[in-house]
């Protein structure tokens, strides 16, 4: 076998902490060969990003690094700064998570892309401009000659990330390290960027280390997978093997806990508890406290299992890997659409429009409008979950905020219990707000940091003067119980809680006024995969118990499929398709819905390869200057003349449940897929 491009042996990293140093990476070993993609997957705190930084010697001076790392023929650990600088420029390329902070805002993109090469003397200064154009062309940026002199703010998010990939590959390095390269991007853009990364990797034959928390992305791009937990690799193997037959209980549990877009509904099987903090790792196996296989076996409690080869090419760090469950959890199909149609809807949104003025110049004159929401109709019944899905900027969050009265509606009407809540007086709105509540995406910023969690949950009662009437501290304790927290946590502050616990506190606070409608704005997007399932299950239970109506706003198609009864897909301020969940997922008729579904990565490598993909061109247009006619026409594979002239009406498609806004609505044809797929 040829010599690997990257060889990591017994890598350890610890950081200063009080009172002892905190071990973040605890003995990691792996190889990556040329033409190979290794995905390192893990939750926050698993040590995956620190491993990547250690490989290239980019850790801060306070970190203590042990073991051996060899990139081509450079020993990284203990190397001096000059050697590392040469190695990074020649042998390693980086792609970081957020393309908007990776690029220097005051330098033209083209110059940045070749800067490193010029600095290392690998490229003559006068050739730099021509080379930059070539690099942009290689990553499929349209009109590279025009783009090369532009600044990062003139690039969209997806184009920036392509430029970063182009920059990383400029010197044809043997090793590419990509740390969550698509996490900040929308699904359709993520598909483009992953495509570009794969293409450039094939062209240059580089070895790629891709770090991610998204098992869908892993299934899509990986050749080999390393699963990290508590600072160690707990399982490695070929991608198909890992997904088909995991050999470590953590991998198996992770696969069971994520909602799947391509699967009929089942109750999620969450991993109990929290990922361990590196500062307080359990004795023995780090996963033992959450493990269904270990379950208190003495060997698991006392001895941290070593990573050893178990069969063929898989390696697992588990004493009892043979007991790892493989079959999916027993299916518990949730019936769909339990709403009674003759019951009046809880919430009705009629032709809602929200426009924001764009002001320019010193006189702050209104020069145009951002049409964030442009005519949305939607109803939510009690006990029903209606989801709004779409990419960033499609207006889904604005719709939710307008319903809550947090953003002023420009036109249209919103009815709660058949009463209009637009134009209500301040006290009328206060009363209306008792019936609906909002749950925020980011549990870290939605709780007041200087209040105790008891006060936070009780605050709505105090504001409405209902605290004593509702039962005071006893009522708060009840709510804590309901969301799975202990009342013994009353006196603590938000900072002392983990993300999942904070989201539970946010849910308890939303429920304290006994609302009938919850607006959930990406309630699990900021949480670790293993915690998402816990919260989703909690939301389902609460809905059943309290007959709540949910307006669920999300971009994650798998989560939406799991939780919804009905789904509406938004694009640039309008609903383009709405249907009951299964019809929408199994037989989408709008080309945008079809593209969205095909772009979303699914955590199944075999199925993923079989699937045809539609990779959309371009990105979501600017809502201040939407294209004439159908807003999706410029990216659509079915667009014809009529689409560009007038916006299509939102109509029922045939005799189905679905309604769509498209002149050419219809199921995806095989031929079409061939024509547009890559």
């Amino acid at each position: 076998m040829t010599e690997p491009v990257l060889k990591v042996r017994d890598l350890t990293v610890d950081f200063p902490g009080t009172p002892d140093r905190v071990p973040v990476v605890r003995g990691v070993s792996f190889d990556v060969h040329a033409n190979e993609v290794l995905c390192i997957v893990g939750e926050s705190g698993s040590g995956k990003s620190v491993t990547a930084l250690a490989i290239t010697g980019l850790l801060p001076a306070s970190a203590r690094v042990g073991g051996a790392v060899r990139v081509k023929d450079t020993d990284v650990i203990g190397a001096d700064a000059e050697v590392l600088r040469r190695m990074r420029g020649r042998d390693v390329g980086f792609v970081f998570q957020d393309p908007s902070t990776t690029l220097n805002p005051v330098l033209p993109v083209g110059r940045q892309m070749t800067e490193g090469q010029v600095a290392l003397g690998l490229l003559a200064k006068r050739d730099a401009a021509a080379r930059a154009v070539e690099l942009l062309r290689e990553v499929d940026v349209a009109n590279p000659e025009g783009r090369v002199g532009q600044y990062p703010h003139e690039f969209s998010g997806g184009m920036r990330q392509r430029a970063v990939i182009g920059m990383a590959m400029a010197g044809r390095p043997g090793l590419i390290i990509a740390d969550e390269p698509t996490t900040a991007l929308d699904v359709t853009v993520q598909a483009q960027v992953l495509g570009v990364l794969a293409k450039r990797q094939k062209d240059t034959g580089a070895a790629v280390v891709l770090i991610t928390h998204d098992l869908g992305v892993v299934a899509e791009v990986a050749d080999r997978v390393a699963v990290m937990y508590g600072g160690r690799i707990v399982e490695t193997g070929q991608v198909d093997q890992i997904f088909a037959q995991p050999r470590h209980p953590y991998t198996a549990a992770l696969l069971h806990s994520i909602p799947r877009m391509d699967m009929t509904d089942r109750r999620l099987d969450p991993i109990p508890g929290q990922p361990p903090s590196p500062a307080s790792l359990p004795k023995g196996c780090a996963f033992e406290p959450r493990c269904s296989v270990g379950n208190g076996r003495p060997k698991c409690l006392s001895e941290d299992p070593a990573l050893r080869i178990v069969d063929d090419a898989s390696a697992s760090a588990c004493h009892y890997w043979r007991d790892t469950p493989t079959a999916a959890a027993p299916a518990e199909v949730r019936e769909i659409s339990r709403n009674v149609p003759d019951q009046p809807p809880l919430l009705e949104i009629r032709d809602l429009k929200v426009h924001f003025p764009v002001r320019r110049g010193i006189l702050q004159r209104v020069t145009g409008h951002v049409r964030a929401v442009e005519g949305v109709n939607l109803t939510v019944h009690a006990g029903e979950t209606v989801s709004l899905v779409g990419e960033s900027g499609c207006g889904k969050t604005t719709t939710g905020k307008a319903v809550m009265g947090l953003t002023r509606a420009t036109a249209g009407d919103i009815l709660l219990n058949q009463q209009s809540i637009l134009g209500l007086s301040a006290s009328g709105m206060r009363n209306a707000r008792r019936n609906m509540q909002y749950i925020f995406q980011d549990p870290f910023s939605s709780l007041n940091p200087v209040k105790t969690v008891e006060d936070i949950v009780a605050e709505p009662l105090h504001i409405h003067g209902l605290y004593d009437e509702a039962g005071g501290a006893k009522r708060i304790a009840e709510l804590f119980d309901m969301v799975g927290l202990s009342p013994s946590m009353f006196g603590r502050y938000p900072a002392e809680f983990s993300g999942g616990q904070k989201q539970r506190i946010g849910i308890a606070r939303a429920l304290v006024l006994q609302p009938r409608l919850l607006i959930l704005d990406e309630p699990v997007a900021a949480l670790d995969v293993s915690i998402q399932a816990q919260i989703l299950n909690l939301l389902e239970d609460l809905q059943k118990e309290l007959n709540l109506g949910y307006l669920f706003i999300a971009h994650n198609l798998s989560v939406v499929r799991h939780i919804s009864d009905r789904v509406a897909v938004m694009y640039l301020g309008r609903i383009v398709e709405e249907s009951d969940r299964d019809t929408l997922y199994d037989a989408p008729v709008h080309p945008y819905t079809q593209s969205l579904m095909s772009a979303a990565p699914i955590p199944d490598p075999v199925e993923g390869r079989r699937r045809q993909r539609i990779v959309l061109e371009g990105e979501v247009p600017d809502p201040a200057a939407p294209p004439p006619g159908c807003a999706f026409a410029p990216r659509c594979f079915r667009a014809t003349e009529i689409c560009r002239s007038a916006p299509p009406p939102f109509e029922r498609y045939g005799k189905t449940e679905s309604r769509a806004a498209c002149y050419h609505a219809g199921p995806l044809e095989q031929v079409e897929q061939k024509a547009t797929g890559t």
Partner: protein
């Protein structure tokens, strides 16, 4: 309750920084001595003419002044003058400046524009000239110095609170209060204000040291607190006159004044560090 939590946890975190802890210690000493000065065997006004302008001795540890008064006693009682000026000025500035910043930052628009133009006018007043004008009109008094520093301190509070409010009001936990029906007033005073407390504390510390310095400067110019009330600035001024006869005269007031300002400074720096590294206090662990 929530204010207390913020203050206690800030104090706790401050005490873990050496510089700030030393500053707090010195300041605590000055405050204690000033408050309980009457209980000490000290007499700032008693004159012992025979022993005027004497050097340090068993009876007078830091010597006597031109009227034979004990310099140590006068420095101790002078602390009262300084601290009262500082406290008064801070109270005036905070009581007016904080609501201005809250209202301007929270509502924006014309209210903000009007309030901020007022702030601009106040910023244009040089504190010492303004104080001398007040003294010219109302005569020498502690009140004039206190009022002058207080008024010129308003812009500092207004601007800092406004900036803080503007960043906080976009945060989810403020919007959450709005979403469950909290009024604007509730949000401003019960949600945003407690979260701005550490920034306000920094401003309190900064203005206190400015006030003490200005009071000393006015006294040094001979327009401060009327005699015989002891004041550090006044003692420095007289000390300068007797520089040849009694070089030790100004030593103690000079050192104490310098250390007090340094103490405020190190506390201020400690507070700023806490704001920059929110992980160090429990109250702002949001970024953990």
């Amino acid at each position: 309750m929530k204010y207390l939590h913020v203050i206690l946890s800030t104090l706790h975190a401050l005490l873990r920084q050496t510089g700030a802890a030393l500053g707090l210690g010195f300041l605590a000493l000055i405050v204690l001595v000033a408050v309980f000065a009457d209980l000490l065997p000290l007499d700032p006004l008693g004159q012992d003419f025979i022993r005027s302008l004497e050097g340090p001795s068993r009876d007078y540890w830091f010597g006597t002044d031109e009227l034979g008064r004990d310099i140590l006693s006068r420095v101790v009682f002078g602390a009262r003058t300084s601290l009262v000026t500082a406290a008064g000025a801070v109270v005036i500035a905070a009581l007016i400046g904080v609501p201005m910043g809250l209202i301007g930052g929270f509502f924006g628009g014309w209210r903000d524009a009007a309030l901020m133009r007022m702030v601009d006018v106040m910023m244009a007043l040089p504190a010492i000239l303004f104080a001398m004008t007040l003294i010219a009109v109302f005569g020498r008094s502690q009140g004039a110095a206190l009022l002058a520093v207080g008024i010129t301190g308003i812009p500092g509070f207004a601007r800092i609170v406004r900036a803080q409010v503007m960043s906080l009001r976009k945060r989810d936990f403020v919007i959450a209060v709005e979403a469950f029906g909290g009024s604007a007033g509730y949000n401003m005073f019960r949600t945003i204000l407690p979260n701005s407390l550490s920034q306000i504390l920094v401003q309190v510390v900064v203005l206190s040291s400015v006030a003490i310095l200005l009071e000393a400067a006015l006294a040094f110019l001979g327009v401060g607190v009327p005699p015989p009330t002891p004041s550090w600035g006044e003692m420095l001024r007289t000390g300068k006159t007797y520089l040849h006869e009694a070089p030790y005269y100004a030593v103690l007031p000079g050192i104490v004044l310098t250390l007090t300002i340094l103490a405020f400074d190190s506390i201020g720096r400690g507070l700023s560090r806490l704001i920059e590294n929110p992980g160090e206090t429990a109250m702002q662990g949001t970024l953990k």
